[in-house]
């Protein structure tokens, strides 16, 4: 980001909320739906005994889910300090900048994502609702780490991806259930 970051308006509570929801949808799609599909296909194609097949598919589900969950955490961290925000924020046309108008360094990004979110969520998510309190739209984790979230583009891509991922999750869940139930 450049020195003219002061010319950009800060992201409102609702835009940031939907960006967060998009991140959750992406996490669920990658970390839950995909492993579930893999596990169910293993279970359905599975071996002669149901017990072994069930446990093995559960193990595959857990392994893929764990690796992808940890992977999602690191991707979110890398995106935050390299590109200025999580995937959801980027798609909703927002960037996270520090007091100098640049993207956060990796240490600040890590603490903001872990300790910062923990602090904001600690009091029944009051730290997130604090965004309503001033014109600057700063949550507790923004105030603690001296960052702000600015609007740099349109939220249309974010809205589109939210709809697509929601449809994908619903279809994948229905498909998984329809695959799983006949094998009971």
């Amino acid at each position: 980001m450049s020195d003219n970051s002061n010319n950009y308006k800060t992201g409102s509570f609702y835009r940031r909320f939907f960006a967060n929801q998009l991140d959750q949808l992406i996490n669920v799609s990658i970390c839950l739906i995909l492993p579930l599909l893999v596990a169910i296909s293993i279970y359905s194609a599975g071996s002669a005994n149901l017990t072994g097949s069930l446990i093995n598919s559960a193990a595959v589900f857990m392994l893929v889910m764990l690796l992808l969950s940890v992977g999602c955490f690191f991707i979110m961290w890398i995106f935050s300090y390299k590109y200025g925000g999580s995937v959801g924020k980027l798609l909703f046309g927002m960037r996270i900048i520090d007091a100098q108008g640049k993207y956060m360094d990796r240490i600040t990004a890590f603490w903001r994502m872990t300790a910062g979110y923990a602090v904001s969520a600690g009091f029944l998510f009051l730290g997130f609702f604090w965004i309503f309190r001033r014109k600057e739209n700063l949550a507790w984790h923004d105030r603690i780490f001296d960052t702000k979230v600015i609007k740099v583009g349109s939220p249309l891509w974010g809205m589109l991806w939210m709809v697509l991922l929601t449809v994908f999750c619903v279809l994948a869940t229905v498909f998984s259930v329809s695959l799983f139930i006949p094998t009971l």
Binding site: A45, A118, P182
Partner: protein, 368 residues
Amino acid sequence: MYSTVDNIKESFKLAWNHKLLWIVAVLAVGGMNFGGSSGLGGDKDENSDKNKNEIRQDVRFNYIDDTQPVKINEKVLGAATNALNSGSVGTMVGEEIYPIDSGGLISAVPGIIALVFIFSLLVIFNAVISLLISSWARGAFYPNVLKAHKQENYNFKSLGDAGKKYWKRYIKFILYIFLKRFLSFLPFVGIGIVSGVAAFFVPDFVFIPLLLMIPVFVWFFAYNIALGFVEEFSLRILVSDDIDTKSCYKKGWEYLKTRPGKSIKLALAWILAIGLLFAVFFGVAGTITYLIYQLIQKQALVFVGLLLGFLIFVVFMAVFVVATPLIVTAGAFAWTRLYLFTRETLEPPADVAKEVLDSMYRTEATNV
């Protein structure tokens, strides 16, 4: 002059006036489950809630002849269809229900081991991140408690800066104290081994090592309580003095040995104060719940009773959410005040020391 009761009263006042510290207080003392805040995709084992009453039928007991070349999918679907037709899940041949085949479980052992291993990795990952968050929160909390006590200015940004500056010291200290507590268990392990050996070779005298458990338990109890006091002092020394973890721990013991009575008094008074608060809180909550229950039992104003109950539940939850950080912050202030009082005893301020020295070594002229 220092007084434990005045210390506690003053600490609650300070905690009420410094609400900004509440936001990190609970994290600093209680830690945080990382999974809730990170947005990681569902880390629950979806299969752990399976109905244990469902009995899985091994396909070998299916009526389909296994010697015939049958596709696996058809076999599974056929078995499932048969189960549906029979009207009960798990029934495969007529109305007989067969137990789970042990061969099936044995073949699933690698899967079970993999599940346990994967779950352990997930727990470890969460524990590491939670430890880092807790260390950062302590780094943010204690320096700013000291600032607040000295009536120095602090804000959100100073919380963040302090957390980033001190988290390494606090993580080393947390691990050091954990090691000390872990090592205090070793005498029990030793006695257990000796008892085991004695039971094997000399069963009549096995009670002797077991009798040793009593003094060891007393020592363990006293040592861990003292360690708690040392921890409280050391958490502040880490901020005030620029020394390593081991030296800080030793200094903590020094502080405790200087004021052991006041430390015990503060701990007991604190337990009493919190106990009274909780007694009042739960006493009121319990009384109101009982009254509402009576109203509902007598079918008098059921709807009003339920609505009132819900509203009171919400109020009490809100009070609980506010009370917890208030109590934690007040506790931190109470120990900070004792720490500063002890520090003045051990290391009096330079101007006080000078005054004392001056009065001890007066020149001849002033003695007239």
